[in-house]
Symmetry: C2
Subunit: 357 residues, 2 copies
């Protein structure tokens, strides 16, 4: 088995304590002795055993906070399932996860939740925020208090967060553009639908899509002006109906936000669901149904479960082993889903409880 600090101590004729101080540069050790210890350690390829390390370093109240906004949305419920999974596992290592789910976007409530969790003594915070200035300030405050923050699902750029984990929205838009080209080998008119005009993620998805289609000139795709549907199915329904009236030869619709159900319903009613290709985002129960009904051609998924699952671990690794994430932006895979390669990471049972499959 691997070499232990004890063995190095014996080989160098000092005590374990001295070895520890030397190898971790804690000072109070004779430079010559330290050098020899380090040399022997290097020769033997000594790496401190993480389990021993974790055992002694786990504080008696190790708490990590998690705050989710828009918790009522299908995607956030998948994120939440990931958090629960991490909570189960981390509890077994002596870490308590405190989860606060907030319905809708409510900066006020988020700030309250942060304060509450800090009051409860959390050592780190994972948060699915909106990029409000107050939140940014709050994250920077936490940084000063030595409470690392991980943003997930949506980022707060420029804040002092440890890292962000979520989708690369622009690249998601690019991927959608590539798929749209594949779907429409003969070209055609494509309608891009956006959500709220100030939603950064949706805008990036839109821009990635538009930029890429403008480059892929080999395909004769005509872009219609994009329309905001404010994440609402009823608006999306209306827009779809009107666009088809105005452009009877419409070939594809790109839904960068929510609203895909409205789009699909309109197409279904007009008997156009197979002729007009629709690409949307996020693999959740409603979208899986639309895939299976051939209403959606592709869904681009952001691995919501993984976002919820990994973010507490990123904090744990940092707090426990001082291991910073390799990159401040951790992009989850852009998963292309069709009806053939889709499985829900979680499904709600009759009581609305989530189950991991």
């Amino acid at each position: 088995m691997a070499v232990t600090a004890q063995q190095i101590a014996e080989l160098t004729g000092v005590s374990r304590g001295t070895v520890d101080r030397a190898l971790h540069n804690r000072g109070r050790v004779n430079p010559d002795v330290a050098a020899r210890i380090r040399q022997v350690a290097a020769e033997l390829g000594y790496r401190p055993n993480q389990i021993g390390q974790a055992l002694v370093k786990t504080p008696r109240d190790f708490r990590i906070g998690v705050i989710l906004q828009s918790a009522e949305t299908p995607t956030m419920q998948i994120v939440s399932a990931g958090v629960h999974r991490a909570a189960d596992e981390l509890r077994a290592s002596g870490v308590e996860l405190l989860l606060r789910e907030i319905r809708r976007l409510d900066t006020e409530l988020v700030l309250e939740a942060i304060e509450e969790l800090v009051g409860q003594g959390i050592q780190g915070l994972a948060i699915a925020p909106s990029a409000e200035t107050e939140i940014r300030h709050c994250i920077d405050d936490l940084y000063e208090q030595n409470i690392p923050v991980v943003t997930l699902n949506s980022d707060v750029p420029g804040s002092k967060r440890l890292c962000f984990i979520g989708m690369d929205s622009y690249r998601g838009g690019q991927t959608a553009a590539g798929l749209m080209c594949q779907l429409l080998p003969d070209g055609g008119k494509v309608l891009p639908l956006a959500g709220h005009l100030n939603n950064t993620a949706h805008n990036n998805r839109l821009n990635g899509f538009l930029d890429t289609l403008r480059q892929e000139t080999a395909y004769h795709i005509t872009l219609l002006p994009f329309q905001p549907c404010f994440d609402r199915d009823d608006y999306a329904y209306e827009i779809t109906q009107h666009t088809i009236q105005a452009e009877p030869d419409l070939a594809g619709i790109y839904v960068a936000s929510n609203g895909q159900q409205g789009v699909c319903q309109a197409l279904d009613e007009l008997g156009l669901k197979r002729r007009i290709k629709v690409i949307a985002f996020d693999l959740n129960a409603p979208n899986l149904a639309l895939l299976q009904a051939d209403s959606l051609s592709f869904v681009l998924d952001q691995e919501a479960f993984e976002q919820g699952y990994r973010s507490p671990y990123l904090l744990y690794e940092y707090l426990m082993h001082k291991k910073k994430p390799a990159h401040p932006l951790i992009y989850t895979d852009i998963a292309i889903r069709t009806k053939y390669n889709s499985t829900l990471a979680v499904s709600a049972d009759a009581d609305g409880h989530m189950q991991q499959t």
Copy 2:
């Protein structure tokens, strides 16, 4: 923080040792006392701390063996990179991974490697095998010796392996069929290419594809008889040329095995690379290049890195915490890759060493 065995001992007025025996049904404890201990533990929601558990249960020589066949292939090199990553991490927990890479398919060498690793005292084995009878027997032998085996990448069905981790080939074929339909909205002739006729995985990929296309009658796709190319690019090149001569209106090629480079080269030379759609398997460096050159429309990836990374962990969890995998067949995600959502999990540097990105 979580409740400890010590606390339960104090509350029930017994010693930690008694608590431990009671909760783990080790016997030698008064039934009444045991009942009270269990009740208190349940009330407090006691879960043994895994870190403490791991520390005491890690044997002084914890060794897990890994054997990879066809190690020279791009996909196996990605698997290997995953194994190396796991080795790094597990080493930090006192587990040594012994990796044997075997070039090509050579049952003789595999059996030797197994013997060698067992001689070195491995407690578990992960293996990317071929489904030979000797190997099956060998796995069953190891089972008798209490050495659990995980198969990865390709399975040995019917053997007493703990589990298999790899692609669901049939479903991969189905996914490919779905994509082919999307690519060819007007239908057309499609050529399916197989590898060796006795390769189970390739056959499943083929059958999933054929079965699904026969069902998707809404699309007017005509299947040409499938051809074996024996995983060779030169044969695939020849087959492609001849098929196009015989069927000038060929619309798509499905490559269930290796040989995609030969296919793409033939198409490229005939100036048909954008007109005839090609779907192939496995995201590795050559295939990524073909994607980027628009020679391949889609690549279906089997997450080779994850296969290599997770299999030692599956053994670790089983050996350390007696935790069996949830299912004997662990299917990795069927990842649909285009040039827009592809990144290599690893890249070889100038010296041929793998690097995780």
